[in-house]
Symmetry: C2
Subunit: 323 residues, 2 copies
């Protein structure tokens, strides 16, 4: 199988590529694409391409589709905060680039790859019940969420019309993200744990009552591998799937941190309310009933303690030292 990963140099992209190379998928060829040249993964013995390309640029979608991957995992996106600040960039990358990919596939006769697309719980917005069911309205409150919801609709229509075999995964917020903060409005969910685990201060911009829906990077990689391998016939025409996660309040996250790293770690969290971030987060639901995903075999972390444990095992040993 020839596997193409778009957004391969992102955090999930790199972990997914490592998992594929470790045998998660039977990949004889790997094409890794990002706006910067993706790193060469260690230990891959098949045919490898690492390409620095922007899907939003003319001709890129055609060029990539011309390589005829059997599976395309599309993780590339402008994140929520940036898509809100830069209207044109968000629509160009998150909507037009993805649609160009879908249309490039459509123009190749007899080609029918599987396309696994990273969507987001930002497709939901007010009103939201305490637990969001699989039949709940998509009502995004950000341009990012709008772009993800539109892409889901396109993916379902193109799949129904047999252009490709699409699956859209509405990922929980990934926590704990390793590395440095990114521009996502949800970034603080990771930094209030990651920084204190490394003895560094962190900023909490919302209240401890905020409830949210989480998955570890390890669980996220598992979702993509499962979507790549699963029998998609079970999905019918509804190809966008709300994934299982761990529902936790900020207060519960902080208590999980205290259990692992003690009061000194918790004392490193500084409250600095940010109305812009609070307003974006307020539109996101805190808990879901991901019945369809569970019936299709997608598996979440067990609890928030496990989410912290995954970070300590997978990422803390490689964390950059404070400068």
């Amino acid at each position: 199988m020839h596997v193409m990963v778009l957004g391969a140099q992102g955090m999930i992209g790199r972990k997914l590529v490592a998992a594929i190379v470790a045998g998660g998928l039977a990949a004889e060829a790997l094409t890794l694409v990002d706006v910067v040249t993706p790193d060469v993964p260690a230990g891959f013995l098949g045919r490898l391409r690492c390409l620095a390309l922007d899907l939003g640029d003319d001709g890129v979608a055609e060029r990539l589709v011309g390589l005829r991957p059997d599976l395309i995992v599309h993780l590339a996106a402008v994140v929520s905060g940036e898509a809100e600040r830069d209207f044109d960039k968000g629509y160009r990358t998150n909507l037009d680039g993805t649609r160009a990919l879908f249309d490039a596939i459509r123009r190749v006769e007899g080609y029918h790859p599987r396309v696994v697309f990273a969507s987001s719980l930002a497709v939901f917005g007010a009103p939201v019940p305490e637990r969001v069911e699989d039949t709940h309205l998509l009502a995004p409150l950000t341009s990012y969420g709008t772009q993800k919801a539109i892409t889901e609709l396109l993916l379902e229509d193109y799949t129904r019309r047999r252009v490709f075999d699409g699956v859209a995964l509405r990922l929980p917020t990934i926590c704990i993200r390793p590395g440095l903060p990114n521009k996502a409005a949800s970034g603080f969910f990771s930094s209030i744990l990651r920084e204190p685990l490394r003895g560094q201060p962190a900023v909490l911009p919302v209240s401890e009552e905020v409830r949210h829906w989480f998955a570890s990077p390890r669980a996220a990689v598992g979702f993509f591998l499962h979507a790549a391998r699963m029998d998609t016939g079970k999905l019918g025409h509804r190809r966008a799937i709300t994934l299982p996660g761990v529902s936790a309040t900020v207060g519960e996250m902080i208590e999980a941190l205290r259990a692992v790293a003690g009061n000194e770690a918790v004392a490193l969290i500084r409250r600095e309310p940010d109305a812009v971030i609070a307003a974006i987060i307020a539109g996101w639901p805190g808990a879901f009933d991901p019945a369809r995903a569970l019936s299709f075999g997608f598996q979440a972390d067990n609890d928030f303690a496990e989410i912290i444990k995954v970070y300590v095992e997978d990422d803390l040993p490689n964390a950059e030292s404070p400068s």
Copy 2:
């Protein structure tokens, strides 16, 4: 007020324009646009433009927006059956043309018109409960429904970002449509009544158990006038509205016809099952709970008898004689 109607030569377009000219809106200027030159409406004393333009063509959106209408009523669309047969045409007109309009508005600083967009109940699809609530998932089963759902999402995001003041109306199926059959999959709902009322035979391609959601052309015109005049502040960020209608089965429609026009009229309906049409219709819900629309003052016909009465009063006198 300068009012622009896109799709002005369509059935609803012509009736809406007549209602505007009759005083339904305080219009000092009217710009009527369609792919064929719109008819000059009788009795309009303000400034009038009748333009034959295709919104999907380069530069058309900019040209129209350059006229700075205060209100844009966007009715132009490739209908469902045609959008299903011709993938490119459907996406070009129903999605790209509309997005070009939205973006043209965005590029004009200080311009903030009201945009009233004709959406459709085709944004819904399986699974559907017996009555669809306002918070139910959009899960279109046609490319047409996909294009309408995507446009709703764009309209809500552009409205939230203060590009324009948008309202999307999910119209019930309009019944009884005057004139000749069009290419919509829903066309038979009108022809099984319209043709027999004129002594002509008609074809019924689905079973009498099929339940659907209807509004007369007169009610539809009322929806657009109300959306043009209403206080949109009440809508918040949810600008797509499922409109009230009359829920009826094909069997109930036929009984309403029998009450008005007798057994001879009913005898003109010939059963000819059509699997393609039945499959498209099967994805459309039969009844809704349009609580939001009712709270905003949108008004449906009272019952199916009224829907037939509206046709007899408004359209039967002008019906073309059978050739």
